[in-house]
Each structure stands twice: as structure tokens, then as C-alpha cells.
């Protein structure tokens, strides 16, 4: 059999080795407008979802935190203040354009001292074992080709007792909400993407990748399989988004 291994890119099947490149194209093309779109898309609610993520991180002064797929650094900025001068936050992303926008924005906000930026793939994290007290991946896991590989890589670099938080679009808990949300993301999103970023395709991809992402229970199972314990999730805004938590034993 010489069949090529494929994976999904939104609703399309693409060869595994192509997905990363395609995802990169999407984020290169949206990097500059990413924050504006993020606000428009979610009506600003993404800030609240991120806020709850911070609360659940139990971060405290002096800790070392990894914000992988950190993009423009929303979580990083807040973590940086919490861990203070004795702590450290690593803002990591696979995409150089996103990382650059992130770094500039942190500087604009007067955040520099305890933040480091690293270009890194969530599947192959370039850090020693047992490095971090906490790892967050916000709206990033759905873009990763091999999610199991990424979860295992995150487990490896966490300290024992450290926690992983996965913030991601998930499955709305009511049929009604799902319906409304479908209309919104498949019709309105690409349209707004076209208007604001002149890039309907990227936002169509975003909408599709949301729908292909594992639902709450599936992701929880994947985290347990990867070796995390005490796995749990919190639905937010009716399950449009869920925050999963797991601890490294």
C-alpha cells in the first residue's frame, strides 16, 4: 500500500506533511489583523474566556509558565504580571509572524523583563523535562496536526504536579445554540474575515477547524490517555468554548 497519510485541514483532507504549512499560511495571513478579528468574532467574549483560564491556572509569583500557540500574547501578558520578577513566562508559537506581533504588543504594554519568546512546535517542545509549573494552549490545539503527540510533549515538559490548561472551541450544549453558532461561524465569519482582513478563506478554515475539533469528553479522554490525571473541563458560554484541565502526576 502506498496510500499517503492524510489529516484534516478544516473539512478538507490533506497529506499530513502539508497541514502544518497550510495552517502557517492561515496565520501568516491573519497575524496583523488577528486581534481585531478576535474581538469582532467573539464580541470580546474571548477576553472573558481567557480570564477564566488565568483564574484556573493557579499561577502565582515566582512560577515558570509556558503559553504555547500563544500568538499575540494575551495570556502571556497577564501571566507576566502574576509571576512577577522572580517568575518567567515563555511565549511560544510555531509561527514567526504571530510571534513577532506578540512580542511587539508585549513591548507596547510595557511587558518585557520576565517574558521570553520562542518559536516552537507544540508537538516537539524544545524544553527539558519538568520545566514548567503550568502550560496553557488557547485556541491552538485544534490547529496541531497530531494532538496526542502534542499532549505528550506538554506532559513531558511540565513539572510533576504542574497543570495543563487547554482552552478551545468545543461542542455547544444545546441544539439551539449549536444551530445559531453554525450560522454565525459558517456564514458570518468568512464574510467578516473578507471585510476586515480581506481573507475569507482563512476564516472559513477557522470555522471548519472548530467543528472538526474533538468534543469535551473526547478531549478529556485524550488527555487521560496521554498520561494526565484529574482531568476535568468547564463549559463556557454554553459549551461554545471549554476549558480542560489536567495534572501531571
Amino acid at each position: 500500500m502506498t496510500e499517503r497519510k492524510t489529516t484534516h485541514f478544516g473539512y478538507q483532507q490533506v497529506p499530513v506533511e502539508e497541514k502544518a504549512g497550510r495552517v502557517a499560511d492561515v496565520f501568516h495571513s491573519v497575524a496583523a489583523r488577528y486581534d481585531v478579528m478576535n474581538d469582532l468574532m467573539s464580541g470580546g467574549i474571548h477576553r472573558l474566556w481567557k480570564r477564566f483560564t488565568i483564574e484556573l491556572s493557579a499561577a502565582r509569583p515566582g512560577q515558570t509558565i509556558l503559553d504555547i500557540a500563544g500568538g499575540t500574547g494575551d495570556l502571556t501578558a497577564r501571566f507576566s504580571r502574576i509571576v512577577g520578577p522572580t517568575g518567567k513566562v515563555v511565549l511560544a508559537d510555531i509561527n514567526a509572524s504571530m510571534l513577532k506581533v506578540g512580542r511587539d504588543r508585549l513591548l507596547d504594554r510595557g511587558i518585557a523583563g520576565n517574558v521570553e519568546t520562542v518559536q516552537a512546535d507544540a508537538q516537539y517542545l524544545p524544553f527539558p523535562d519538568n520545566t514548567f509549573d503550568c502550560i496553557t494552549i488557547a485556541f491552538g490545539l485544534r490547529n496541531v496536526t497530531d494532538k496526542d503527540l502534542a499532549l505528550r510533549s506538554m506532559l513531558r515538559v511540565l513539572k510533576p504536579g504542574g497543570r495543563l490548561l487547554v482552552l478551545e472551541f468545543s461542542k455547544p450544549q444545546s441544539k439551539l445554540l449549536e444551530k445559531v453558532y453554525d450560522q454565525y461561524s459558517f456564514r458570518l465569519l468568512p464574510f467578516m474575515g473578507k471585510l476586515v482582513a480581506d481573507d475569507a478563506d482563512s476564516y472559513r478554515y477557522l470555522a471548519e477547524s472548530i467543528r472538526m475539533h474533538p468534543d469535551q469528553e473526547t478531549l478529556k479522554g485524550m488527555m487521560s490517555d496521554a498520561g494526565f490525571v484529574d482531568c476535568e473541563f468547564h463549559n463556557m458560554t454554553g459549551g461554545i468554548v471549554a476549558l480542560h484541565k489536567g495534572i501531571k502526576p
Binding site: S42, G43, R47, L56, A59, R60, P61, I82
Partner: protein
């Protein structure tokens, strides 16, 4: 547990209200920056809410306050009492925790200093949100925050009249179950109608496509 988005909305709004007021008051910001690193824990008994005011400072801009619903670091001073008692503390110059039945654990120096800074600040505590929605850039205040804001405003607005129990009732924010379900059914019915319409259009479209060939 209710949707965490609401609580996050409350925290975000309170935080913005305080820091917006601080922005126009460099004197207070300077005083506040001396308290950087200190944390005030507040346990409201009615409605039952824990919150933490974490004081920090930005280089050359002075102090600001972060609001958290959980805090894993050290807490400098911890207070507990009803929301009404706290409003009194923030409003009246000679209100003291003891007189209002607010218990204090830890350093009372932080409390005294913070009380005097916050009291002098022009924050309309009872309606932090309504006020804020008008001034803040639209992209900062999406619908989510707006929702949480008006909900909170209702909850707080009725506090003095209806008493703390009523507030804690409202706090649960549950629309009457039956009413909500009836509404949901209506909308679901409508959605099915749309589905059927879409299916019809699809059949028509195929037929047209077929005819073209």
C-alpha cells in the same frame, strides 16, 4: 455552577471601572503604586462571592488593580462581610469594619490605605458598569461584557431595597426554567422551518443544474 463567563465578566468590569477611574487620578495611582505586590481578599457573604484585589504597578504610570476570582499567592489582608457593608466602607469616611460587622484578617494598614484611596476615587460603585459602557472603546466591551454588566447592575441595584437575600437570589440568574424551555422550543421550531426551506432550495438548485446539462 453558573457559566464562568459571567463571573469573568464581573471581574473584568470591576477591574476596568477601578482602573478607568485611576487613569484620571495620577495622585491616587502614585499612592497605590506604593502598595504594589499587596493583595486584598474580599469574601462577600451576601451575595456569596470571593474576590481578590491584586495591586501592581506599571513603570512610570503608577499603580493599578487587578481583580481575580481566585488567588493562589499570598493574601495580605482578608475581609469578610456583606456587600452592603462594603459599600458603606467605600462611601462613608467614618465607617469602620468593626462597626459594620466586617471581619479583618491580616494587616489592617493595607485596608486603611486602600480604603482611603478607593474612597477618594471617583468610582460609582453601585453602577460601575453602566457608566463604563459609555466611555470605553467599543472593541473593549463586547456583548458578553455588556450582558454581564447589565445583569450585575440589576443585582446590585436592588441591593439596598430588597435586601441581601434578594440579591443572592438574583445572583443565580436562572430564568424560570419553563419559560426558557418554551422559548427554546419556539426557536427550534423556527430553525426546522429554515432547514426545510434550505432542503427545498437545494432540490431546486439540483434540478436547475440538471437542466443546464
Amino acid at each position: 455552577m453558573s457559566d464562568p463567563t459571567f463571573r469573568a465578566g464581573f471581574d473584568a468590569t470591576l477591574e476596568t471601572a477601578i482602573n478607568t477611574a485611576l487613569r484620571y487620578d495620577p495622585g491616587s495611582r502614585a499612592r497605590l503604586s506604593k502598595l504594589a505586590g499587596k493583595v486584598l481578599g474580599v469574601n462577600l457573604t451576601a451575595p456569596a462571592i470571593n474576590l481578590f484585589l491584586v495591586i501592581d504597578d506599571e513603570d512610570d504610570e503608577g499603580g493599578y488593580v487587578e481583580v481575580h476570582s481566585r488567588w493562589s499567592g499570598e493574601v495580605t489582608t482578608e475581609l469578610s462581610g456583606s456587600a452592603l457593608a462594603f459599600l458603606q466602607l467605600l462611601r462613608n469616611r467614618d465607617a469602620t469594619p468593626a462597626r459594620l460587622g466586617v471581619t479583618v484578617r491580616g494587616s489592617s494598614a493595607l485596608l486603611a490605605e486602600l480604603q482611603s484611596i478607593l474612597r477618594d476615587l471617583d468610582v460609582d460603585w453601585e453602577e460601575p458598569l453602566a457608566k463604563l459602557i459609555g466611555d470605553a472603546p467599543a472593541h473593549q466591551l463586547g456583548t458578553g461584557i455588556r450582558m454581564a454588566a447589565s445583569w450585575l447592575k440589576d443585582a446590585l441595584g436592588s441591593a439596598p431595597k430588597a435586601g441581601a437575600e434578594a440579591v443572592s437570589e438574583e445572583w443565580r440568574m436562572t430564568p424560570p426554567q419553563a419559560q426558557f424551555e418554551a422559548f427554546a422550543e419556539d426557536v427550534a421550531g423556527f430553525a426546522q422551518g429554515v432547514d426545510r426551506l434550505e432542503a427545498r432550495i437545494e432540490i431546486l438548485r439540483r434540478r436547475l443544474d440538471g437542466e443546464e446539462k
